[in-house]
C-alpha cells in the first residue's frame, strides 16, 4: 500500500503567506505581466487550498508560463542582467506553486523562497529592507518547519514562535560569522542591476538644470573627516569641469587634444603621467572618507586637489576623481586633499588657451562687448574680476525660481532678468571672462554640507549642488571664483538650507523628505539621529570590508594570525551553542506531574480541609473507602473521582482526563454532612 503524500496544511498556509512576503519587495521593478502571473498562481493555489478549485489543467500552466516569459521578454532589454535572472526565478517559483504535490516539490518551493527573499537585498540595502527580509525569512522557515510537523495545524502560532526563537538564537552565531569570515572578493564578473535613473549633477549644464536639484532634499553623499572639518565656505566639492560652451549649454571639453599630454585619466596603479607634474601640492592636508549615494555616473566628488589611493579610482587631467564603473551602489572612497595648491601655474599650452577662452560666435553680443570694454578699463585681470563681482553683488538677485531664458541666455540674464540660480551666475561670469580673453571654465559639484552633530560627519544633499567658475591667472594657475558668493554671501557662508529653507520651492521635489520640516525641532533631531543610524549602517555594516575586518580583528585579537582567528572562532561559537543548548535542554530530569495527578492532589487538598488527610502509602482506592466511611453523603462523587483517576493514571485513558478535571473542580464538599444522614 503506497500512501499518497500530503503537504501539511499549516505548512501550505505558511508557504502561501511567505510567497506574498517574498515577492512583495520585487514588485517595484518586476514587469507588470510577471507580477500578475504570480498573483494569479497564488490566487489559484489559495482556491485549491480552500478546497474550492482543483489544480489547474496543463494548458493553464503553459499559458501562465508563456505569459511570464513574454513578460520577461518585453520587460527587459537585456537578458543577462540581475533583474531578468531574478524575474526568471520568480516565474519558476510561481509555477512550482501550482505543481506542488510531493514533499520534494514543497522543499523546492521553500528553498526558492529563501533565495528570492535574499535577492531583494541585491536591490535595496536599507535598514527597513534588512528587517523586512529577516521577517520574510522567519515566515519561510515556519513553512519549512510545518513540513516536519504532524500536528502543526493544531498549534499554528507555536510554529511561528518556535522558528522566531530559532532565528533569534541564530543571530549571535551569524554576527560572529559576519565579523570573522573572510571576504575574498568577486570570483567572476556578475551581471549588475540595470542602470537606474541618473541622479545628481549631470554631464552638462543648461540654465534651469540646477533648479531641479535645488528643490531636492535627497542625499548626495556623506563625508567623515579624519580630523577637523574645514570651514563651510571652503567646502567646494568638485565633480566635473565644463570647458565647452555652445551659447546655452556647458559640457566637458572634447578629449581629443588632451591626449597630447598623455592619458586623460591616470588610474590607480598606473605610471605617473607627465601632466601630473603640473599640480603643486603643498601645505594643509585634509583626509576624509566619502560615502556616495548611487549616481549611475562615473565621477566622484572631492575637495581640490585630491589624491585617492583606492583601487578603481583615477585622476583626470582637470584634477577630478573618477571611477571605472558607474556608481550603482553606495560607494565609499577615501581622499586626501591638498587645500593649498597650484595647478598649471606655469602656463597653458596654446591649444588649451584656445579651449578655455572659446565662445560660440554671434551669441550674447552685448555681454561680449561689455566684457571687452570693462577689461580695457580695468587694466588687470584681478581688477576686472573684482568689478564684475561688485556689479553682480549690487544689481543681481539670487533665487530658486529664476525666469526662463531664451536664445542669448547670458545677455538676457545680465541685462534683463538679473535673477538667477548658481548656474546662471557661473555661466555668465565664465562667458564674461572668456570674452575678455581670460581662460575660464565652469566647475560643477556641491558646496557646503550639513553637519550631523550626533556623529560629526557632513551630509551633502542634492540641493547643495552648485556651479562656480575657475579662472586661469598667470603664475597663480586655476583660481576659484564663485560669483554666487558675490550675490549671496550667506549662501556660501551658512549653506543652502539656511538660505532657502523658508522658500516654498525648498525640497519641493522630495515631498517626503523630513528636511522640509527642519524648523520643527524634534523632527529635525529625529532626522539627524536617523541619518546617523543610517550612516553607521552604511559605514560599518554595508561597508564592512576586508580592511575594516583586518582592523577590527587586529584590535580585538592583537594580530590576524589565521590559527588564532580559527581558535577564537571555534571557542566563541562553542560558547554560543553551549548557551543555547543549556537553555534548550534546561529542564531535563525534572518530571512534571501529569494533569491527572495534579487534579487528584487538588481533590486530596479539598478533602484535607474536611479533616480527612490522605496517609502516605494509602492507595486512592483505600483512601476513597475511608472517606466514604466517614462521609457517606460524598460517596457518589468520591467514588467517581477515584474511578476516573484510576482510569487516567493506570490505564492511560486520556479521554477521561477532562471528566476527572471537571469532577474535581466541581467537587466542593460541605464542612459537615447534611442533617438526616
Amino acid at each position: 500500500m503506497s500512501q499518497v503524500y500530503q503537504i501539511p496544511r499549516n505548512s501550505l498556509a505558511w508557504m502561501l503567506l511567505a510567497f506574498v512576503s517574498v515577492i512583495a519587495p520585487h514588485v517595484l521593478w518586476l514587469p507588470l505581466w510577471i507580477t500578475l502571473a504570480a498573483a494569479l498562481a497564488l490566487f489559484w493555489r489559495v482556491q485549491v487550498y480552500r478546497g474550492l478549485w482543483r489544480f489547474p489543467p496543463g494548458w493553464f500552466k503553459y499559458l501562465l508560463a508563456f505569459v511570464s516569459v513574454a513578460g520577461l521578454y518585453l520587460g527587459f532589454d537585456r537578458y543577462t542582467g540581475l533583474e531578468p535572472m531574478v524575474a526568471l526565478l520568480i516565474i519558476g517559483y510561481s509555477l512550482k506553486l501550482l505543481e506542488m504535490h510531493t514533499r520534494r516539490d514543497a522543499l523546492a518551493v521553500i528553498y526558492l523562497a529563501y533565495f528570492i527573499a535574499a535577492a531583494a537585498l541585491l536591490f535595496e540595502q536599507t535598514i527597513p529592507m534588512a528587517i523586512y527580509v529577516t521577517l520574510s525569512f522567519i515566515l519561510v522557515s515556519t513553512a519549512l518547519m510545518g513540513l516536519n510537523q504532524s500536528q502543526g495545524y493544531r498549534y499554528p502560532l507555536s510554529s511561528l514562535r518556535i522558528t522566531s526563537k530559532l532565528v533569534l538564537q541564530s543571530l549571535p552565531l551569524m554576527l560572529l560569522l559576519f565579523l570573522v569570515m573572510p571576504r575574498i572578493g568577486p570570483l567572476w564578473q556578475v551581471p549588475m542591476q540595470q542602470t537606474g535613473s541618473k541622479t545628481g549633477v549631470s554631464d552638462s549644464m543648461s540654465p534651469g538644470d540646477f533648479n531641479k536639484l535645488g528643490k531636492s532634499g535627497a542625499l548626495a553623499f556623506r563625508v567623515t573627516f579624519k580630523d577637523n572639518i574645514p570651514e563651510q565656505p571652503g567646502l567646494y566639492w568638485r565633480g566635473l569641469v565644463f570647458s565647452k560652451f555652445d551659447g546655452r549649454k556647458w559640457s566637458q571639453a572634447d578629449p581629443g587634444d588632451y591626449f597630447r599630454n598623455g592619458r586623460i585619466v591616470r588610474w590607480q596603479g598606473q605610471a605617473r603621467q607627465p601632466w601630473e607634474s603640473k599640480i603643486e601640492r603643498r601645505g594643509e592636508i585634509v583626509d576624509y572618507d566619502i560615502i556616495l549615494e548611487p549616481t549611475q555616473q562615473i565621477w566622484l566628488y572631492a575637495l581640490a586637489t585630491p589624491v585617492s589611493e583606492d583601487p578603481a579610482t583615477g585622476l583626470t587631467q582637470d584634477f577630478n576623481l573618477v571611477t571605472k564603473q558607474p556608481v550603482q551602489a553606495r560607494l565609499k572612497y577615501s581622499v586626501r586633499s591638498y587645500l593649498n595648491h597650484r595647478t598649471e601655474a606655469k602656463g597653458l599650452p596654446w591649444w588649451r588657451f584656445l579651449d578655455e577662452t572659446q565662445l560660440p560666435a554671434e551669441f550674447n553680443p552685448e555681454s561680449v562687448s561689455l566684457a571687452r570694454r570693462w577689461r580695457r578699463e580695468a587694466g588687470t585681470d584681478e581688477a576686472y574680476i573684482q568689478r564684475i563681482l561688485t556689479w553682480i553683488n549690487k544689481e543681481f538677485v539670487y533665487t530658486l525660481e529664476p525666469p526662463l531664458l531664451g536664445e542669448n541666455s547670458v545677455d538676457e540674464f545680465l541685462f534683463t532678468s538679473k535673477q538667477g540660480f548658481c548656474e546662471h551666475f557661473a555661466s555668465s561670469f565664465t562667458v564674461m571672462m572668456r570674452a575678455a580673453g581670460i581662460p575660464a571654465r565652469v566647475v560643477v559639484g556641491y558646496q557646503g554640507g550639513e553637519l550631523n552633530p550626533y556623529q560629526n560627519y557632513l551630509l551633502v544633499h542634492q540641493f547643495d549642488a552648485h556651479a562656480w567658475t575657475e579662472v586661469w591667472l598667470e603664475n597663480r594657475g586655476w583660481v576659484r571664483v564663485d560669483p554666487t558668493a558675490a550675490v549671496a554671501p550667506e549662501r556660501i557662508r551658512n549653506g543652502f538650507q539656511d538660505y532657502f529653507a523658508q522658500e516654498p520651492g525648498f525640497s519641493e521635489n522630495t515631498p517626503l523628505s523630513l528636511i522640509r520640516f527642519r524648523n520643527i525641532n524634534w523632527i529635525n533631531n529625529f532626522r539627524l539621529q536617523w541619518d546617523r543610524v543610517n550612516y553607521g549602517w552604511h559605514r560599518w555594516v554595508l561597508g564592512y570590508d576586508q580592511s575594516l575586518q583586518t582592523g577590527l580583528l587586529t584590535k580585538l585579537l592583537g594580530n590576524t594570525d589565521p590559527i588564532r582567528i580559527i581558535g577564537v572562532m571555534i571557542l566563541s561559537s562553542s560558547l554560543i551553542l553551549l548557551f543555547i543548548a543549556l537553555w534548550l535542554l534546561r529542564n531535563t530530569g525534572k518530571k512534571a506531574a501529569s494533569p491527572g495527578i495534579r487534579a487528584y492532589s487538588q481533590f486530596c487538598r479539598k478533602l484535607k480541609r474536611l479533616g480527612i488527610t490522605r496517609e502516605t502509602g494509602e492507595t486512592p482506592m483505600q483512601y476513597s473507602r475511608r472517606v466514604v466511611a466517614l462521609r457517606p453523603d460524598l460517596k457518589n462523587e468520591v467514588q467517581r473521582i477515584a474511578g476516573l483517576f484510576e482510569q487516567v493514571t493506570y490505564r492511560e485513558e486520556t479521554l477521561h482526563l477532562k471528566a476527572l478535571v471537571a469532577a474535581v473542580k466541581k467537587f466542593s464538599p460541605r464542612k459537615r454532612p447534611p442533617a438526616g444522614i
Binding site: 518547519m145 530559532l166 568577486p186 543548548a581
Partner: protein
C-alpha cells in the same frame, strides 16, 4: 503475556557480511538490549538529511552571490542560514534526548498475522516533543507527539512471517524536527520478541474421544450452573458474570466461570497427519488446538519426543500453541 527475550539476535548477523557483523556487534556493545531505554547523547546519532544537504547547497549558492556582488547583507543572510542550520542541530537532538522508550507488552500471533508490540513513549521533562517516528526497520512508522501528554502508548506492528520465536529487530526512533535539515535517530534493542504460532490450516473434525469418560474431568462450559472459579474478564463477555465483589475490592474485573461435568479427553497427535510435511502438520495441529479449546473437552498433544498431558483452560491452550510454535523452529527454511 510478556514477550520472550531474544538474546540470539546477534546470531542472525553471522550470516551477513563481515562489515555488517562488525557493525552489529559494535551496535550491540553500544546500545545493549534493554526493556526500557532513555535516549541521551550516548545513544542518539545525528546527521544532515537530504534536505539538509540541499540547504547547505543553498547557502553555498548564496555565499557565491554575496561574494560576487560584494553585498554584505547577502553575506549576513548566508550566515544566518548557516547558523540556523547549526542551531537546529541542537533542536533536533533535543527532540529525542530525554525520551524514555519502553516495551510494555506483546502478544503471540499466528503466522501471517501482524504482531503488535505495545510501546510506551514518555518524556522525562517538561519540554515538548514533536514528530518522533518509531518503526521496526523496514516497516511503516508511527508518529508520536508529546505536546499535551506526558506519555503515549502506541502499538507497532511487525509481520509475523516465520513460525517460532520472532524478534522484530531493533526499533528505529528518528526525528527530523524542527526544520527537516537534520535527522536524529537511534536503533534501540528493546529485547522485543514474540511467539509466532503456526498458521492454522483447516484439518477436518477433531479426532475421536480417546479419554476415559469415568475419570469425571471437569470441562469448562460457559452458561452452566455450577460455579467453577474465576478468570480474567474478556471484553466480549457478558457483564452478568462479572464478580463485582472483587471489583469493589480493587482486584479488577473477574468473570465467574460456571461449568458442567463432561468426561472427554482428546489427543492431538503428530501422527494423525501421516504423509504431510512438518509445517503442514503443525498448521493442522494448531487448528485442532484452537478447535479443541473452543469445545468443552480436555486435550493433550503428542509431538515427536514431546507429550503434553491433557488439560484445558487458556494457559493450557497457550502452552500447546507454544510447543507448536517452537517445535524444531530453527530448522524451518
Amino acid at each position: 503475556m510478556f514477550p520472550i527475550t531474544a538474546k540470539s539476535l546477534t546470531d542472525q548477523a553471522s550470516k551477513t557480511g563481515f562489515l555488517q557483523r562488525h557493525f552489529q556487534s559494535w551496535l550491540h556493545k553500544r546500545l545493549p538490549p534493554e526493556r526500557s531505554i532513555l535516549l541521551t547523547s550516548k545513544n542518539i546519532f545525528i546527521f544532515p538529511s537530504r534536505a539538509g544537504f540541499a540547504f547547505v547547497f543553498l547557502f553555498v549558492l548564496l555565499w557565491l552571490v554575496a561574494t560576487n556582488y560584494e553585498n554584505n547583507l547577502v553575506f549576513a543572510i548566508t550566515f544566518l542560514l548557516s547558523s540556523l542550520f547549526i542551531v537546529s542541530i541542537l533542536y533536533t537532538f533535543g527532540n529525542l534526548s530525554g525520551l524514555r522508550i519502553s516495551l510494555v507488552n506483546s502478544h503471540p500471533v499466528f503466522k501471517g498475522e501482524d504482531a503488535g508490540f505495545e510501546l510506551l513513549v514518555e518524556k522525562q521533562n517538561k519540554r515538548l516533543y514533536e514528530n518522533i517516528m518509531l518503526s521496526w526497520s523496514g516497516n511503516p512508522s508511527v508518529v508520536v507527539n508529546l505536546i499535551e501528554h506526558e506519555q503515549k502508548r502506541i502499538t507497532l506492528h511487525f509481520p509475523a512471517t516465520r513460525r517460532g520465536r520472532m524478534t522484530p529487530g531493533r526499533l528505529l526512533v528518528e526525528t527530523y524536527y524542527p526544520l527537516g535539515l537534520l535527522r536524529a535517530w537511534s536503533w534501540l534493542d528493546l529485547d522485543a520478541a514474540v511467539l509466532v504460532y503456526p498458521q492454522p490450516v483447516k484439518a477436518g473434525p477433531l479426532p475421536g474421544k480417546a479419554g476415559n469418560a469415568e475419570q469425571g474431568d471437569i470441562v469448562n462450559l460457559a452458561g452452566n450452573d455450577d460455579f467453577y472459579g474465576f478468570r480474567k474478564y474478556q471484553p466480549s463477555e457478558s457483564l452478568n458474570h462479572v464478580s463485582w465483589k472483587h471489583y469493589a475490592k480493587g482486584q479488577g474485573l473477574l468473570s465467574k466461570e460456571y461449568s458442567e461435568t463432561v468426561m472427554q479427553c482428546l489427543w492431538l497427535d503428530w501422527d494423525d497427519f501421516d504423509g504431510l510435511g512438518r509445517e503442514s502438520r503443525l498448521s493442522r495441529l494448531c487448528y485442532w488446538v484452537l478447535e479443541a479449546a473452543k469445545s468443552k473437552n480436555e486435550y493433550g498433544l503428542r509431538l515427536p519426543g514431546i507429550e503434553i498431558s491433557p488439560g484445558k483452560g487458556e494457559q493450557h491452550r497457550n502452552k500447546l500453541l507454544g510447543e507448536l510454535a517452537l517445535f524444531e523452529w530453527e530448522k524451518q527454511s
